[in-house]
């Protein structure tokens, strides 16, 4: 089982690495197209700015290899900004294109509630989810963001409500993503990571 964290400067990469280590899962970092195409599963961590993330992936020549890995069936888990990067565009950086694995866009949350959406919130499950298997329905997960995908069609399997209803968990075939940070969400977050690793063929 060869699981790689896409390395492009994301601040939360070490936390994701530590969370995997706690599960007994070894991972490595992939920062080149070659390293990226030689693995069984990929995790795209992310925190910060949509435009900065896409530019950073682009500078490293990672955008096409990532899209290619996904279309060849390699399981991919996006976290927080890593979820947002899977969409076509984002209000946060109108000039920059995302990975466009999903045709919808990422929007700025309306200022109805306090923003950033910061802290622990619950999910509203709308479809069966592999990532949320054996996770209690009332569990809390840690969020820290001001932008979100309000719609991902059939791929949105769990939503969260803060300022607006937005996609909290995304699943379509081999593509998975969470708007929350599983690596910062205590035991339930560890369960989500472990479910991904198991889907990818490891022993999470």
């Amino acid at each position: 089982m060869n699981i790689a964290l896409v390395e492009y400067g994301a601040g939360n990469l070490p936390s994701v690495e530590r969370a995997l280590t706690r599960l007994g899962v070894e991972s490595r970092r992939a920062s080149t197209p070659e390293a990226l195409s030689a693995c069984d599963a990929l995790i795209l961590p992310g925190v910060g700015h949509f435009g900065a993330l896409m530019r950073s992936l682009n500078e490293r020549g990672l955008i096409e290899p990532l899209r290619k890995a996904v279309s060849s069936g390699v399981p991919l888990l996006g976290i927080c900004l890593g979820l947002q990067a899977m969409f076509a565009t984002s209000d946060e950086a109108p000039g920059d294109s995302g990975l466009a694995l999903f045709p919808q866009k990422v929007s700025a949350l309306p200022p109805t509630d306090r923003l950033p959406h910061m802290g622990w919130n619950q999910l509203r499950r709308v479809r069966p989810s592999k990532l949320l298997e054996n996770v209690a329905g009332d569990s809390y997960f840690y969020f820290a963001h001001s932008y979100a995908a309000l719609d991902a069609g059939e791929a949105g399997v769990a939503m969260c409500d803060h300022s607006a209803s937005f996609v909290a968990v995304l699943e379509r075939e081999n593509v998975f993503a969470t708007q929350f940070h599983p690596e910062k969400s205590g035991p339930v977050g560890a369960r989500v990571l472990s479910n991904f690793v198991q889907f990818a063929g490891g022993k999470g």
């Binding site: 601040g11 939360n12 070490p14 936390s15 530590r18 969370a19 706690r22 925190v47 910060g48 700015h49 200022p111 509630d113 306090r114 923003l115 950033p116 959406h117 910061m118 802290g119 622990w120 919130n121 619950q122 999910l123 509203r124 809390y140 840690y142 820290a144 963001h145 001001s146 409500d161 803060h162 940070h181 690596e183 910062k184 969400s185 205590g186 035991p187 977050g189 560890a190």
Partner: protein, 254 residues
Amino acid sequence: MSLAHRIIPCLDTDGERVVKGVNFVNLRDAGDPAELAARYNIEGADELVVLDIAASRDHRPTFLETIRRVAAELAIPLTAGGGVATVDEGRAILRAGADKLTVNTAAIRHPELLTALAAEFGSQAVVLAIDAKRVGDHWEAFVRGGSVPTGIDAVAWARQGVDCGAGEILITSMDKDGTRSGFDCPLTAAISRSVTVPVIASGGADAPDTFLEVFREGRADAALAASIFHDRIQGLGELKKYLADHGVSVRQTG
């Protein structure tokens, strides 16, 4: 379903060891930060704050090592700060394993620091810490660990700080800090009403009813405390059960 009110233990350190004092003076040793972090991670803390209250330049590498040791114990978010004056210092703290950083003195002197930090790391990573003390009919912001008055109105400063890019306010009442006489609800509510970002209340924590008060009357999104947790005067699980029983949304574990 709604956002949980957060309970945040705070580790004030001299860079290396946890210390505590009353009203920012008479500091004494209160333990190893990584050991306390491991305990709070298990006991259900929603987040942890680690501050370098000495914040001397030559001590910085020690504090970065402390952040690394603390982060290694956590599966919850970590906020760290103390003396951050530049984007590079902020980056070093985040790289060491913190998810958010606090800025205080340097931001008052140069509010554009908040803008630069938010542009670099995102507003969600920038916490503006304000130490405030009642002066006449308002609250004044103090800097340098609460030792230097600024003449600046704390509520107006909070609002300006958010405009500049802060994604969260950590408001410490110097009048209440270390007194165990309850949070400063009027101060917290005044800040909370004037900003759109989450507000963390600090200073004066005691029995569970003081937390209930600061969430209800103080309109706080999170409450921070140190010694009542370090000294095991208050258990996190018991505190959260009390709050849940009184209708406050909290994340209960185990």
